[in-house]
Amino acid sequence: MAMYVYGIIDSNDKIDAFVTGLDGVGVYNIPYRDIGALASDLDTPVRDTDEERVLEHETVLEKMIECFTVLPMRFLTVFNEKNNVISMLNEHYNDFREDLDRLHDKTEFGIKVIWPGAVIREKIANAYSKAQVSVPSPDDSPGKSFVKKKFETYKINKEFEEEADRRIAVIDNFFNRNVCEKKLERLKTENMLLNASYLVDNEKQNDFKKAFEEMRAFAGDLKYLFSGPWPPYNFVTKTNTRHDRE
Protein backbone atom coordinates (compact mmCIF):
# COMPACT_ATOMS: atom_id res chain seq x y z
CA MET A 1 0.00 0.00 0.00
CA ALA A 2 1.19 3.53 -0.83
CA MET A 3 2.13 5.82 2.01
CA TYR A 4 1.86 9.55 2.34
CA VAL A 5 4.68 11.04 4.44
CA TYR A 6 4.11 14.34 6.29
CA GLY A 7 7.41 14.84 8.02
CA ILE A 8 10.29 13.44 10.04
CA ILE A 9 10.20 13.53 13.84
CA ASP A 10 12.77 13.09 16.62
CA SER A 11 11.09 10.00 18.05
CA ASN A 12 10.77 6.33 17.21
CA ASP A 13 7.77 5.87 19.54
CA LYS A 14 4.18 5.19 18.62
CA ILE A 15 1.98 8.27 18.36
CA ASP A 16 -0.35 8.24 21.36
CA ALA A 17 -3.04 10.63 20.12
CA PHE A 18 -5.25 9.75 17.16
CA VAL A 19 -4.39 12.23 14.43
CA THR A 20 -6.19 12.09 11.11
CA GLY A 21 -4.30 12.69 7.92
CA LEU A 22 -5.26 12.80 4.25
CA ASP A 23 -8.65 11.22 3.45
CA GLY A 24 -9.42 10.98 7.19
CA VAL A 25 -7.16 8.01 7.93
CA GLY A 26 -4.91 7.77 11.00
CA VAL A 27 -1.32 9.00 11.06
CA TYR A 28 1.35 6.71 12.48
CA ASN A 29 5.08 6.75 13.01
CA ILE A 30 7.46 4.59 10.96
CA PRO A 31 10.48 4.26 13.28
CA TYR A 32 14.10 4.17 12.17
CA ARG A 33 16.88 4.27 14.79
CA ASP A 34 15.98 7.24 17.05
CA ILE A 35 13.81 9.11 14.50
CA GLY A 36 10.61 8.38 12.58
CA ALA A 37 8.52 9.29 9.55
CA LEU A 38 4.96 10.50 10.07
CA ALA A 39 2.86 8.63 7.54
CA SER A 40 -0.65 7.54 6.66
CA ASP A 41 -1.94 4.93 4.21
CA LEU A 42 -3.11 6.10 0.86
CA ASP A 43 -5.70 4.25 -1.23
CA THR A 44 -5.90 6.64 -4.14
CA PRO A 45 -2.96 8.47 -5.72
CA VAL A 46 -2.66 12.20 -4.98
CA ARG A 47 -1.48 14.00 -8.05
CA ASP A 48 -2.80 17.53 -7.75
CA THR A 49 -2.45 20.17 -5.09
CA ASP A 50 -5.91 20.95 -3.78
CA GLU A 51 -6.57 23.33 -0.92
CA GLU A 52 -8.34 20.77 1.27
CA ARG A 53 -5.44 18.32 1.15
CA VAL A 54 -2.85 21.02 1.72
CA LEU A 55 -4.77 21.99 4.87
CA GLU A 56 -4.94 18.34 5.99
CA HIS A 57 -1.17 18.05 5.52
CA GLU A 58 -0.63 21.29 7.46
CA THR A 59 -3.01 20.22 10.27
CA VAL A 60 -1.02 17.02 10.88
CA LEU A 61 2.22 18.99 11.15
CA GLU A 62 0.64 21.59 13.46
CA LYS A 63 -0.55 18.89 15.84
CA MET A 64 2.77 17.10 15.77
CA ILE A 65 4.91 20.17 16.57
CA GLU A 66 3.14 20.27 19.94
CA CYS A 67 4.85 16.96 20.86
CA PHE A 68 7.94 16.57 18.64
CA THR A 69 10.55 18.38 16.62
CA VAL A 70 9.22 18.06 13.09
CA LEU A 71 10.92 18.40 9.72
CA PRO A 72 8.04 19.05 7.33
CA MET A 73 8.18 17.11 4.07
CA ARG A 74 7.08 18.65 0.81
CA PHE A 75 3.36 18.31 0.07
CA LEU A 76 2.67 15.21 -2.10
CA THR A 77 5.51 13.08 -0.72
CA VAL A 78 4.29 9.55 -1.47
CA PHE A 79 6.12 6.22 -1.29
CA ASN A 80 5.09 2.90 -2.79
CA GLU A 81 5.64 0.91 0.36
CA LYS A 82 7.03 1.00 3.89
CA ASN A 83 10.43 -0.38 2.87
CA ASN A 84 10.97 2.64 0.61
CA VAL A 85 10.27 4.97 3.53
CA ILE A 86 12.79 3.09 5.67
CA SER A 87 15.38 3.23 2.84
CA MET A 88 14.86 6.98 2.64
CA LEU A 89 15.30 7.35 6.41
CA ASN A 90 18.44 5.23 6.25
CA GLU A 91 19.93 7.15 3.35
CA HIS A 92 19.29 10.62 4.81
CA TYR A 93 19.54 9.77 8.49
CA ASN A 94 22.54 12.02 9.18
CA ASP A 95 20.94 15.04 7.45
CA PHE A 96 17.66 14.50 9.29
CA ARG A 97 19.40 14.03 12.63
CA GLU A 98 21.42 17.21 12.12
CA ASP A 99 18.31 19.23 11.24
CA LEU A 100 16.30 17.77 14.11
CA ASP A 101 19.04 18.82 16.55
CA ARG A 102 19.32 22.28 15.01
CA LEU A 103 15.56 22.87 14.99
CA HIS A 104 14.83 21.32 18.38
CA ASP A 105 12.57 23.58 20.50
CA LYS A 106 12.39 26.16 17.72
CA THR A 107 9.51 27.37 15.58
CA GLU A 108 9.06 29.59 12.60
CA PHE A 109 7.31 32.96 12.44
CA GLY A 110 6.54 34.89 9.29
CA ILE A 111 6.26 38.59 8.66
CA LYS A 112 5.27 40.07 5.35
CA VAL A 113 5.37 43.82 4.83
CA ILE A 114 3.77 45.86 2.05
CA TRP A 115 4.89 49.41 1.36
CA PRO A 116 3.47 51.99 -1.06
CA GLY A 117 5.97 51.06 -3.78
CA ALA A 118 4.41 53.13 -6.58
CA VAL A 119 4.28 56.28 -4.42
CA ILE A 120 7.90 55.88 -3.33
CA ARG A 121 9.07 55.26 -6.89
CA GLU A 122 7.24 58.37 -8.07
CA LYS A 123 8.83 60.48 -5.33
CA ILE A 124 12.28 59.23 -6.31
CA ALA A 125 11.55 59.87 -10.01
CA ASN A 126 10.38 63.43 -9.26
CA ALA A 127 13.46 64.16 -7.17
CA TYR A 128 15.66 62.78 -9.97
CA SER A 129 13.86 64.87 -12.56
CA LYS A 130 14.26 68.04 -10.43
CA ALA A 131 17.95 67.38 -9.92
CA GLN A 132 18.36 67.30 -13.76
CA VAL A 133 21.19 64.78 -13.59
CA SER A 134 20.81 63.47 -17.12
CA VAL A 135 18.90 65.99 -19.25
CA PRO A 136 18.15 64.98 -22.87
CA SER A 137 19.46 67.42 -25.46
CA PRO A 138 18.28 67.81 -29.09
CA ASP A 139 21.92 67.46 -30.15
CA ASP A 140 22.23 63.98 -28.66
CA SER A 141 22.71 61.08 -31.04
CA PRO A 142 20.07 58.28 -30.85
CA GLY A 143 22.61 56.11 -29.00
CA LYS A 144 23.34 58.78 -26.42
CA SER A 145 19.62 59.59 -25.89
CA PHE A 146 19.00 55.89 -25.34
CA VAL A 147 21.75 55.69 -22.71
CA LYS A 148 20.42 58.82 -20.93
CA LYS A 149 16.91 57.34 -20.80
CA LYS A 150 18.20 53.98 -19.52
CA PHE A 151 20.50 55.65 -17.03
CA GLU A 152 17.57 57.54 -15.52
CA THR A 153 15.64 54.28 -15.06
CA TYR A 154 18.76 52.62 -13.62
CA LYS A 155 19.29 55.41 -11.05
CA ILE A 156 15.63 55.43 -10.02
CA ASN A 157 15.63 51.63 -9.60
CA LYS A 158 18.85 51.79 -7.61
CA GLU A 159 17.52 54.46 -5.25
CA PHE A 160 14.25 52.50 -4.92
CA GLU A 161 16.16 49.36 -3.90
CA GLU A 162 18.38 51.28 -1.49
CA GLU A 163 15.31 52.79 0.15
CA ALA A 164 13.83 49.27 0.43
CA ASP A 165 17.05 48.04 2.08
CA ARG A 166 16.99 50.91 4.58
CA ARG A 167 13.39 50.17 5.59
CA ILE A 168 14.01 46.41 5.77
CA ALA A 169 16.99 47.00 8.05
CA VAL A 170 14.77 49.03 10.41
CA ILE A 171 12.06 46.33 10.47
CA ASP A 172 14.57 43.49 10.85
CA ASN A 173 16.19 45.31 13.74
CA PHE A 174 13.02 44.86 15.82
CA PHE A 175 13.22 41.08 15.49
CA ASN A 176 16.90 40.36 15.05
CA ARG A 177 17.87 40.02 18.72
CA ASN A 178 15.27 37.29 19.35
CA VAL A 179 15.97 34.96 16.44
CA CYS A 180 18.28 32.02 15.76
CA GLU A 181 18.11 32.17 11.97
CA LYS A 182 16.31 34.25 9.37
CA LYS A 183 15.47 34.34 5.69
CA LEU A 184 14.60 37.71 4.17
CA GLU A 185 13.17 38.10 0.69
CA ARG A 186 13.18 41.64 -0.65
CA LEU A 187 10.73 43.14 -3.18
CA LYS A 188 9.09 39.97 -4.53
CA THR A 189 6.70 42.48 -6.09
CA GLU A 190 6.96 46.27 -6.29
CA ASN A 191 4.77 46.55 -3.17
CA MET A 192 5.88 43.45 -1.25
CA LEU A 193 8.76 45.10 0.57
CA LEU A 194 9.63 42.13 2.75
CA ASN A 195 8.76 38.48 3.10
CA ALA A 196 10.66 37.30 6.16
CA SER A 197 10.84 33.97 7.96
CA TYR A 198 12.37 33.89 11.43
CA LEU A 199 13.41 30.83 13.38
CA VAL A 200 12.72 31.47 17.04
CA ASP A 201 13.68 29.54 20.14
CA ASN A 202 10.48 28.47 21.94
CA GLU A 203 11.66 30.23 25.08
CA LYS A 204 11.89 33.50 23.17
CA GLN A 205 8.47 33.37 21.52
CA ASN A 206 7.01 35.96 23.88
CA ASP A 207 9.95 38.31 23.34
CA PHE A 208 9.54 37.86 19.62
CA LYS A 209 5.86 38.74 19.83
CA LYS A 210 6.69 41.81 21.92
CA ALA A 211 9.10 42.84 19.18
CA PHE A 212 6.22 42.55 16.72
CA GLU A 213 4.06 44.81 18.95
CA GLU A 214 6.87 47.39 18.89
CA MET A 215 7.16 47.12 15.14
CA ARG A 216 3.41 47.47 14.75
CA ALA A 217 3.43 50.72 16.71
CA PHE A 218 6.10 52.04 14.37
CA ALA A 219 4.47 50.73 11.16
CA GLY A 220 3.10 54.05 9.81
CA ASP A 221 2.22 53.56 6.14
CA LEU A 222 3.40 49.94 6.18
CA LYS A 223 0.96 47.03 5.97
CA TYR A 224 1.98 43.92 7.80
CA LEU A 225 0.98 40.27 8.11
CA PHE A 226 2.43 38.49 11.10
CA SER A 227 1.89 34.75 11.56
CA GLY A 228 3.15 31.82 13.59
CA PRO A 229 4.26 29.67 15.16
CA TRP A 230 4.67 27.41 12.11
CA PRO A 231 6.58 24.18 11.54
CA PRO A 232 10.04 25.29 10.34
CA TYR A 233 9.24 25.01 6.62
CA ASN A 234 11.87 27.51 5.54
CA PHE A 235 14.70 26.20 7.69
CA VAL A 236 14.83 22.52 6.79
CA THR A 237 17.89 21.67 4.74
CA LYS A 238 16.73 20.67 1.30
CA THR A 239 17.20 16.91 0.90
CA ASN A 240 16.42 15.21 -2.38
CA THR A 241 14.26 12.22 -1.48
CA ARG A 242 12.46 12.32 -4.82
CA HIS A 243 14.19 9.31 -6.39
CA ASP A 244 12.80 7.05 -3.67
CA ARG A 245 9.28 8.08 -4.25
CA GLU A 246 6.44 6.59 -6.21
Binding site: E62, T107, K112, I114, S141, P142, G143, K144, S145, F146, V147, K150, F151, Y154, K155, E185, K188, T189, N191, M192, N202, Q205, K209, F212, R216, A219, K223, Y224, L225, F226, S227, G228, P229, W230, K238
Partner: protein, 111 residues
Protein backbone atom coordinates in the same frame (compact mmCIF):
# COMPACT_ATOMS: atom_id res chain seq x y z
CA UNK B 1 1.30 28.10 21.86
CA UNK B 2 -1.69 28.83 19.63
CA UNK B 3 -1.30 30.22 16.15
CA UNK B 4 -1.42 33.97 15.66
CA UNK B 5 -2.25 35.67 12.38
CA UNK B 6 -2.37 39.44 12.60
CA UNK B 7 -2.65 41.94 9.80
CA UNK B 8 -3.84 45.47 9.19
CA UNK B 9 -4.61 44.88 5.50
CA UNK B 10 -5.69 41.37 4.56
CA UNK B 11 -7.00 42.40 1.11
CA UNK B 12 -3.68 43.99 0.16
CA UNK B 13 -1.86 40.73 0.97
CA UNK B 14 -4.33 38.66 -1.08
CA UNK B 15 -3.78 41.05 -3.97
CA UNK B 16 0.03 40.83 -3.80
CA UNK B 17 -0.07 37.03 -3.44
CA UNK B 18 -2.30 36.82 -6.51
CA UNK B 19 0.16 38.95 -8.45
CA UNK B 20 2.96 36.56 -7.51
CA UNK B 21 0.95 33.50 -8.48
CA UNK B 22 -0.06 34.98 -11.81
CA UNK B 23 3.56 35.71 -12.65
CA UNK B 24 4.38 32.00 -12.70
CA UNK B 25 2.31 29.28 -14.39
CA UNK B 26 0.96 26.54 -12.08
CA UNK B 27 1.92 23.85 -14.56
CA UNK B 28 4.15 23.61 -17.59
CA UNK B 29 1.82 23.43 -20.54
CA UNK B 30 3.95 21.22 -22.78
CA UNK B 31 2.62 19.19 -25.68
CA UNK B 32 3.80 18.34 -29.21
CA UNK B 33 1.83 21.27 -30.63
CA UNK B 34 3.41 23.98 -28.50
CA UNK B 35 6.93 22.63 -28.07
CA UNK B 36 8.39 25.23 -30.46
CA UNK B 37 6.72 28.10 -28.61
CA UNK B 38 8.02 26.72 -25.29
CA UNK B 39 11.54 26.46 -26.63
CA UNK B 40 11.37 29.95 -28.12
CA UNK B 41 10.22 31.31 -24.76
CA UNK B 42 13.11 29.64 -22.98
CA UNK B 43 15.68 30.93 -25.48
CA UNK B 44 14.20 34.44 -25.41
CA UNK B 45 14.27 34.40 -21.60
CA UNK B 46 17.98 33.63 -21.64
CA UNK B 47 18.69 36.28 -24.28
CA UNK B 48 16.67 38.81 -22.28
CA UNK B 49 18.62 37.96 -19.14
CA UNK B 50 21.94 38.49 -20.93
CA UNK B 51 20.65 41.70 -22.52
CA UNK B 52 19.59 43.09 -19.14
CA UNK B 53 22.91 42.15 -17.56
CA UNK B 54 24.76 43.93 -20.39
CA UNK B 55 22.54 46.97 -19.94
CA UNK B 56 23.10 47.05 -16.19
CA UNK B 57 26.84 46.69 -16.58
CA UNK B 58 26.86 49.54 -19.10
CA UNK B 59 24.88 51.76 -16.70
CA UNK B 60 27.35 50.99 -13.91
CA UNK B 61 30.18 52.10 -16.15
CA UNK B 62 28.31 55.29 -17.11
CA UNK B 63 27.74 55.96 -13.41
CA UNK B 64 31.41 55.38 -12.63
CA UNK B 65 32.36 57.82 -15.43
CA UNK B 66 34.67 55.29 -17.03
CA UNK B 67 33.27 55.66 -20.57
CA UNK B 68 34.22 58.26 -23.17
CA UNK B 69 31.52 60.10 -25.17
CA UNK B 70 32.29 57.90 -28.16
CA UNK B 71 31.98 54.72 -26.12
CA UNK B 72 28.65 55.88 -24.65
CA UNK B 73 27.33 56.50 -28.15
CA UNK B 74 28.51 53.12 -29.40
CA UNK B 75 27.12 51.23 -26.39
CA UNK B 76 23.84 53.18 -26.62
CA UNK B 77 23.39 52.24 -30.24
CA UNK B 78 24.21 48.58 -29.57
CA UNK B 79 21.79 48.37 -26.64
CA UNK B 80 19.08 50.14 -28.62
CA UNK B 81 19.42 47.71 -31.54
CA UNK B 82 19.37 44.75 -29.14
CA UNK B 83 16.21 46.03 -27.48
CA UNK B 84 14.50 46.56 -30.84
CA UNK B 85 15.51 43.09 -32.02
CA UNK B 86 14.10 41.55 -28.84
CA UNK B 87 10.81 43.41 -29.36
CA UNK B 88 10.69 42.01 -32.89
CA UNK B 89 11.41 38.43 -31.74
CA UNK B 90 8.82 38.65 -28.96
CA UNK B 91 6.28 39.73 -31.56
CA UNK B 92 7.21 36.87 -33.90
CA UNK B 93 6.80 34.23 -31.19
CA UNK B 94 3.88 35.95 -29.45
CA UNK B 95 5.71 36.15 -26.10
CA UNK B 96 4.83 38.88 -23.60
CA UNK B 97 7.38 40.61 -21.34
CA UNK B 98 5.93 39.11 -18.17
CA UNK B 99 6.33 35.60 -19.61
CA UNK B 100 10.11 35.97 -19.88
CA UNK B 101 10.90 34.60 -16.45
CA UNK B 102 11.81 31.30 -14.85
CA UNK B 103 11.50 30.30 -11.23
CA UNK B 104 14.76 28.77 -10.02
CA UNK B 105 13.34 27.37 -6.79
CA UNK B 106 15.49 28.35 -3.80
CA UNK B 107 17.43 30.81 -5.97
CA UNK B 108 14.25 32.78 -6.70
CA UNK B 109 13.13 34.18 -10.03
CA UNK B 110 15.54 34.54 -12.92
CA UNK B 111 14.45 38.14 -13.50
Amino acid sequence: MSKIVETNAIDAFFEETEKLQKALPKKIDANPQNVEAGLAKLVLTLIELIRKLMEKQAMRRVEAGSLSEEEIERIGETLMKLENKMKELKGVFGVKDEELNINLGPLGDLM
